[in-house]
């Protein structure tokens, strides 16, 4: 094994081009477990922790450009106003020690269906900035997850950053597990209200081979909210609408039975989380200036 220690982003890209099989290591909270247990013996480890830019973020007009290695702890503490859904999701990851090291770049690299960043990114709307010596591209988050623990990165590409839409309304994240800390999701659900475009977006974790959006449920809800004038009148969402939305979210799952839960439990729980997160976010939307401005 060789340990590559690029001092700059350019060096890292050059190293990845030269050794496409090199395994990048950031926080190491996925990679080191595999090495400790002998599940993986990469020929090259490519250490990304010396590259300062990966630990920085920029808050722009519409998006936050989040460096790939910004640890969850920083997202929770410094980016809650702009990225409330991702901040909530970050807080459910493992433990303080893991959150101090691990970040969204590693979560995307692993692309586990249970990764907690994914439902939040899907709900908020995001693009992954992937770069290689050939150039840079933005991969829409909807196209990023290609299979169980597979993603759209080319062998010579690294994740530089994630561009996440700044919240324009309330967001929630909900996760089912046996306790609060150190829990891989049995299933998880992210929801974001986007009052400026009058849409609702969702993200489901651990209930399909990849993280997914419940698109049919979103379309149904967007139409129902529009028809009923809900964005303007701020009325409580009709229980039958919420129920139908929850059912469609459950139907968007394609879960499996495993040690953490059965497929039918996961489908049920996703429906419950969909209804709850909709109610929570809608309650806070009804109390916000966003709506009163809209009416006035």
């Amino acid at each position: 094994m060789d340990f590559l220690r690029p001092a700059s982003w350019e060096e890292a890209l050059a190293a990845k081009a030269e050794h496409p099989t090199a395994v990048p290591i950031a926080g190491g909270t996925d990679v080191m477990v595999e090495i400790n247990f002998d599940h993986r013996r990469p020929e090259y480890l490519l250490d990304l922790t010396r590259i300062g830019e990966l630990y920085e973020w920029e808050i722009g007009e519409e998006t936050v450009r989040l460096g790939a290695s910004v640890p969850y702890t920083r997202i929770m503490e410094d980016l809650r106003p702009e990225l409330p859904g991702l901040a909530l999701a970050s807080h459910t990851v493992a433990s303080p020690q893991i959150r101090n090291r691990g970040g969204v770049g590693g979560n995307l690299g692993t692309a586990s269906p249970a990764g907690d960043a994914h439902p939040a990114l899907l709900a908020a709307g995001a693009e992954v900035e992937a770069e290689s010596v050939r150039g840079s591209r933005l991969i829409p988050i909807d196209d990023f997850y290609t299979g169980v623990k597979r993603n759209a990165l080319a062998p010579d590409e690294l994740i530089r950053a994630v561009h996440i839409k700044k919240a324009d309304g309330p967001q929630q994240y909900s996760k089912v597990g046996t306790r609060n800390a150190m829990v891989i999701a049995v299933c998880a659900f992210g929801l974001a209200l986007h009052p400026s475009s009058r849409t609702v977006r969702t993200g489901i974790g651990s209930a399909a081979p990849t993280p997914v959006r419940a698109k049919t449920a979103e379309e149904f809800l967007n139409a129902a909210l529009d028809e009923g004038g809900f964005w303007d009148n701020g009325k409580i969402i009709t229980p039958s609408v919420a129920k139908r939305f929850a059912d469609l979210c459950a139907a968007a799952c394609n879960p499996i039975d495993d040690v953490r839960g059965t497929a039918s439990y996961r489908r049920h729980a996703v429906g419950v989380m969909a209804r709850r997160t909709l109610m929570w976010t809608w309650e806070s939307y009804r109390g916000t200036a966003a709506r009163t401005e809209g009416v006035a």
């Binding site: 340990f3 290591i25 493992a94 433990s95 303080p96 020690q97 090291r101």
Partner: protein, 185 residues
Amino acid sequence: MRVNFTVNGRPQEADDVWEGESLLYVLRERLGLPGSKNACEQGECGSCTVRLDGVPVCSCLVAAGQVEGREVVTVEGLADYAKERSCGTSLQDAQHWSAQGQDSQTGEGTELAPIQQAFIDAGAVQCGFCTPGLLVAADEMLERHPDPSDADIREALSGNLCRCTGYEKIMDAVRLAAARQSEGV
């Protein structure tokens, strides 16, 4: 490969390090610092917790090569670290202090850090396997939250498992250390 870094204020050089080796392994097997414990090697238990450039991390999940040029504090250096901090040294400086004498290597014969004394006084140590990791995590929490709520303590220690105590005595110990710290004892 060779790795140069600072442990408990002293420059260290580890030789013949395998590229996939963890910081925990280097500390225990190459530098003779067995305070940090190895219980799971997968980040679940926190018994290997050390501070890396001031930040609590699981040393079993840090690749040895990643600590090149960085500063590590282990439970063996906790007493000196806490002393340095209480002498009014700025946090920045405390993270760059240099240990006095031989004892800070093994930790033997040195005074205890307040958090260590509190664990003993509150009866928070049974088999002791979880203790080093808890001490490092609790000490760092008290640095950030001098007057922690129970929720702060639980959150800060949520990455550390203990199979013996049932945690109540550990809670007592951290509350005791916080109280003593605020009284300047």
